[in-house]
Symmetry: C2
Subunit: 484 residues, 2 copies
Amino acid sequence: MHQPDWKPNRSSQNPLHLQIYEYLKQKILNGEWTVGAKIPPQRILAQQLNVNRSTVVTALEDLAADGFISSKVGYGTFVANNTWSIISSGAAPDWKTYVESGVHESNQSIIQEINRSEFRPDIIRLGTGELSPKFLPTEKMKGIFQQNTAQELSLSYTEPKGSYSLRTAICDYLKRKGIETSPSSVLIVSGGLQALQLISLGLLQKGSVVFHESPSYVTSIHVFQSAGMNLFGVPMGEEGLKTELLPKIKRQHHAALLYTIPSFHNPTGHTMPEQRRKELLQVCSHERLPILEDDVYGDLWFEEPPPEPLKANDRQGLVLYMGSLSKTLGPGLRIGWLVGPEQVIDRLADIKMQTDYGSSTLSQFAAAHWLQSGLYDEHIFQLRKKLMFQRDTALQILEKYYRGIATWKTPAGGFYIWLKLQEAISMDKLFKRALKAGILINPGNIYDHKDSSHIRISYSYAEPAQLEKGLIRLAEIIGEMSSR
Amino acid sequence: MHQPDWKPNRSSQNPLHLQIYEYLKQKILNGEWTVGAKIPPQRILAQQLNVNRSTVVTALEDLAADGFISSKVGYGTFVANNTWSIISSGAAPDWKTYVESGVHESNQSIIQEINRSEFRPDIIRLGTGELSPKFLPTEKMKGIFQQNTAQELSLSYTEPKGSYSLRTAICDYLKRKGIETSPSSVLIVSGGLQALQLISLGLLQKGSVVFHESPSYVTSIHVFQSAGMNLFGVPMGEEGLKTELLPKIKRQHHAALLYTIPSFHNPTGHTMPEQRRKELLQVCSHERLPILEDDVYGDLWFEEPPPEPLKANDRQGLVLYMGSLSKTLGPGLRIGWLVGPEQVIDRLADIKMQTDYGSSTLSQFAAAHWLQSGLYDEHIFQLRKKLMFQRDTALQILEKYYRGIATWKTPAGGFYIWLKLQEAISMDKLFKRALKAGILINPGNIYDHKDSSHIRISYSYAEPAQLEKGLIRLAEIIGEMSSR
């Protein structure tokens, strides 16, 4: 549910249904709703405008009487006419066909629903991959623009690879993780998702196969499929990705890339042990299978840091490494980075220039300042404590209400608890029933479409009281569904 | 030429060639330069590191003696070995093949060269589509973060269509141009280029045809071609786009969209008169051919505003309208907008979410503040005067040195003068010779590949003295080439 453009004025002399009639008529006359376009159902309109459904019905009847809209039983209500179409003998383009014929796939409808519902003020967000706004340093962010910093703000285009001072800051930051690289091997991206998109457009042939852990975050997005690649899920064991399977299936599937999240995996929360990381590097090196290492959660450890990133032990340029500030400083910055062999970074920088001409310089300026001034480290130090408290709260609630319903493991960092239900149930039904009850969850089937017994619970967003309220209600819903 | 990662330390006791040897060895050992990768030519390395070529040669000889690199006559020098490859029995992936097999086309090599050369500090930029940094309000931009503003800064994700307060601000701003719309019909994009990309991915079928003015900015980018569309240039007459040709060629070419820049056209500087705008709307309405109106230069008029945008007279939802702050407040913001029928905007917002999860909230916050506070209007008022002075300076120089070499028209706004040479010459040669002389131009063939007699001169970037120096030298080069 988006914020509506307009709400009726309740203190006006003009009756509500006439105000709504005028508003809708204007949308039609402005061409925002074109002839042939379907208009939202009465129920939704009433909800958006915060009026009784009967008020909406009256307004729609008036519009129909004036010939602006008409209904087809079983199909809904459509814009029929906008008076201009009669005068001008022309007609609106058939936008419906356009919208349906684009190359790029739509998001899964469940993901679209999640994207929309996240902006409902009343919703309890139990599944969201985002920090609560109260964990984000908004005031400090404004503050850095007031200081005389080492960085200079530029409002011009940046170099294709992004601001040089930010790339330098990232090299220094990565050095502490054991990754040795230089600015010319770093590309600034507008968040991790864009890194995936650039790779899908810039490095892979149509029809090639991308391996990933099963389940994986990557199956919840269409970025590789929309570019014509196929995904293949490699099973995870206790230690993470079953590396022993790779040589055989690599040959079977002509894999071009392996996508992995070794630390605080999304959605399982799992961290790959050091030994398995070594094996993975060895196998992939032997098979000449490049690795895309997604390390966006790496800084969010609780008791001890995770093992070194794969990239820290890659001496051959086998690993493309991606990081981001979205899970730490705030997704609104839209700042991430990709590190890899220089020729790969050169190619992807060229495509980035063709896509959006680089990332916001305000964001790049801010990111460089946070990383270089030590502010980032201070923030992360505090954030870890807060997140760990959130995790512990979630675990206590689970302990109290989910024994017998589900099992789970304790994540050592990141955002997620991967709840395994005792009994398989319809994920789609669960999602819908929870949403109706005001609870937004990320069901397991968006990470593995065959899955019907997992839920990704995120402790990064909801307040403890909300977490409790939401999880209790969710347990009830699961209970109701299981007993049937 | 990018900023190099490193420069040798001249006050070190360690000889330069040894320092360079170590630096290059490290790049190989880190996997930044992978086995098989081609390394930059000696000449380029010497230039980047600011040393004699012989110093580079010594360092490379040492690397070759140690087995790290080897040369193939006629092909260049390659990384041969990184010691790790021997130990591990594995090998780097064949990145060269990856880089060559991506779906997305590379930028034209001349565009890549322009993108790179723009960052050379010594270059005179005569062709660039960018304002001089001295026209950009950098200090004021920092200032707005210090005030208590009506806007609230958020570091979270925004709604799929972008920040609601920015979309509201844009609706108010567009109203003054005669465009009536509401926030739900507005999509925030990371600059105009991204709007084009979203349209190419979201609305058009592979193989469909996009009409555009010939010449046009759109032929200098690959955005539609990389998504599988074809471009078709419609000739321009005195009044702009020859609308009378449209019905016939529309049928011949199954055009799906017409892209036009009615005000201060890029590259010709031409402004479509009111009457022609009406005809264009009428013809396209009759043919049901959607229009994509690019109005990124619309605010940059000198004596009087251009006619109303096409969108202001579109009552049918025929026109997708794009605007941007890149040509006014600064491209570094990466903020633009697309206005169109709600169903189209919904679809493109979904793809935007799949591409980069929205634009920087720092930039959106700043943009909303500039637009709503009146600061934007003040800035534009001043900017117009400065740009007009730049234009007049350029015209005076042309008057003095280009009579007999070329003809041109006086642009009424925007950035560009479209120089028509008296004699056709090789555009590629002209570009290279100018670049060698330290002058960066945008030759006409990037806007129409058959063109060999135009140059896009931009008065938005270079200082008057630089403009004069560059234009004089360019006239000499043209003279030398013509007489041959």
